[in-house]
């Protein structure tokens, strides 16, 4: 596994400054949860880490490779850093198995048999071995998100970014997705998770970052952030969220 380091990243969309100099580190094999109010730039930060959004200023490193170097191909970065979206974004015209196989075939250039083998094993890993030939629209939200996780895992990434993976799900599905995520975390995957699931953050995260108005306000162990937050902005947020 690898670490991701974010150094002084700034990003504006037109007049709106979304990221105002972010420094952040996701250590190798660590589960980092990023919490904070909506509109604070959490998702943009995550999307900067795999260059879906190109930062205006600052640097991002995967281990010691500067991803923000213009010579680095964005495709290479994304091959190595997986991403799971809030709205799953499965390819609606492909079966579950083919969703997982697509990038293996077209990016990793695997032959069909090998890609299929990887897809089946990853889908089994997230508990969907019986849905290989179903289409995304035939699955529940939780199942779709698990497919999306399998799709990211199949690329054998060095780290995975989760962008509010459970925000579009019902309580039952949330549980099944979080269970899969904690298992991956325990297996040593480097994970950056933007989430509103404080329970998950408390139990699974190695570290929690409180993010507000385009900046890291505070970071520490789950205990430090949730129970003994030092910053009053964090305290106010936690008071509203935890009850």
């Amino acid at each position: 596994m690898s670490s991701i380091r974010v150094k002084g990243v700034r990003k504006s969309f037109g007049e709106l400054e979304v990221l105002r100099g972010v420094d952040l580190e996701v250590n190798s094999g660590e589960v980092l949860c990023i919490v904070g109010p909506s509109g604070s730039g959490k998702s943009t930060l995550l999307r900067c880490m795999n260059l879906l959004v190109i930062p205006d200023e600052g640097q991002i490193f995967l281990d010691d490779v500067a991803l923000t170097d213009p010579r680095i191909r964005p495709e290479w970065v994304r091959q190595n850093i997986g991403m799971v979206f809030q709205s799953f974004n499965l390819f609606t015209h492909l079966t579950v198995k083919r969703n997982v196989m697509l990038a293996l075939r077209h990016v990793k250039r695997m032959n069909r048999a090998k890609a299929e083998k990887v897809a089946v094993s990853q889908l089994t890993r997230v508990g969907l071995a019986d849905k290989l030939n179903a289409y995304p629209a035939q699955l529940s939200g939780g199942q779709q998100q698990r497919v999306a996780i399998a799709r990211a895992l199949a690329m054998d990434p060095k780290a995975i970014l989760f962008d509010e993976p459970t925000s579009a799900l019902d309580p039952e599905s949330i549980h099944e997705v979080l269970a899969v995520m904690s298992r991956i975390g325990q297996e040593g995957m480097t994970m950056a998770v933007v989430t509103h699931e404080m329970g998950f953050a408390k139990e699974v995260a190695d570290r929690v970052v409180f993010f507000d108005a385009g900046r890291v306000v505070e970071e520490g162990t789950p205990d430090e952030i949730f129970e003994r937050a030092g910053h009053e902005r964090t305290q106010a947020f936690m008071k509203k969220i935890l009850r």
Partner: protein
């Protein structure tokens, strides 16, 4: 939870597994769907058309003009033309217009969605130009300009005539291409941004994502509108007689005009145009049915019913 594909059902024809195994199976399955599975609807529509036609002729017979069908037979042989000849020529023209229009429309529609400003600009000019002119003006425009260009060039009159007439066909192909370009553009734009996000996030290049992620979905979304445009452009070919094509429309005009030789001019014209309408119906019907078949082929299980 909606029904997934259980192992027991995977071997029935048309199940996702069989249908999507590879493109050959898909094509074969599709042909079957279009021409075999839909037989009932051919029977219903075709039967209705035939019965309707017979009833109409009986009605004419009741009016005392049933002998017109014999008269028409004489007319056909007198003029040495027959609607079926015109029909075949119409088919030939349609056979050029639909593929050219579709291919070009696809390319222009795609060009209009790229980030390359020049391509987008060229696409817009093309669409704006060919969409804002009535097809009949376009046909004249192309034919007349070709005629003027060829004047005095020493080219033999027969070749010149052929060239001029085919330029009219080109005009129609460009006209429908402009419409199909907009249909394709709408299709491409209606594929949610999340789909390209996901392809990006997996490291799939933009160009490849276009082919394996966006276009398959855009095509499926465009099909109903494409079928509509196909049927409309088939019937636009009936304008080509203005530059001398004796296709179905031209033949019908000639026959109807010549029915003045006979006692029942109006009824004679009517029968001619009923014949023509029926033949146009046949081509349009086959084309739209085929598109419907392709729609079925691209149907995605779980997506066919609109979700609330």
């Amino acid at each position: 939870m909606t029904g997934g594909s259980s192992p027991a059902s995977t071997l029935s024809p048309g199940s996702p597994e069989v249908r999507r195994r590879d493109w050959k199976t898909r094509l074969r399955g599709g042909a079957k769907k279009v021409f075999v599975w839909k037989i009932w609807s051919h029977v219903v529509y075709g039967g209705a058309a035939v019965v309707g036609g017979i009833l109409f002729l009986l009605e004419l017979g009741y009016l005392g003009v049933y002998h017109l069908s014999f008269a028409l037979g004489a007319l056909h042989s007198f003029l040495a033309i027959h609607p079926l000849q015109g029909f075949l020529l119409s088919l030939e023209v349609v056979g050029v217009i639909l593929p050219v229009g579709f291919g070009l429309g696809f390319l222009v529609g795609w060009a209009r969605t790229t980030r390359f400003v020049i391509l987008r600009g060229l696409g817009s000019v093309f669409v704006d130009f060919f969409r804002s002119m009535p097809p009949i003006a376009l046909i004249f425009f192309f034919a007349l300009i070709t005629g003027l260009e060829l004047r005095g060039s020493g080219i033999d009159p027969y070749t010149a005539q052929t060239l001029i007439m085919w330029m009219g066909v080109v005009a129609l192909a460009l006209h429908t291409a402009a419409y199909q370009a907009e249909i394709m553009r709408a299709g491409i734009l209606s594929v949610p941004a999340g789909q390209t996000d996901a392809a990006d996030a997996l490291g799939i290049s933009r160009m490849r994502a276009m082919f394996v992620v966006v276009l398959p979905q855009a095509f499926r979304l465009s099909l109903p509108a494409l079928g509509n445009e196909f049927s409309s452009s088939i019937k636009d070919t009936s304008l080509l007689n203005v530059i001398g094509w004796m296709e179905l429309g031209g033949v019908s005009l000639a026959l109807a005009a010549n029915s003045i030789e006979y006692s029942h001019y109006l009824a004679g014209s009517l029968v001619v145009w009923i014949e023509a309408a029926f033949l146009y119906f046949v081509v349009t019907y086959i084309a739209t049915r085929t598109v419907r078949g392709v729609e079925d082929l691209f149907k995605v299980p779980g997506l066919e019913v609109a979700k609330s």
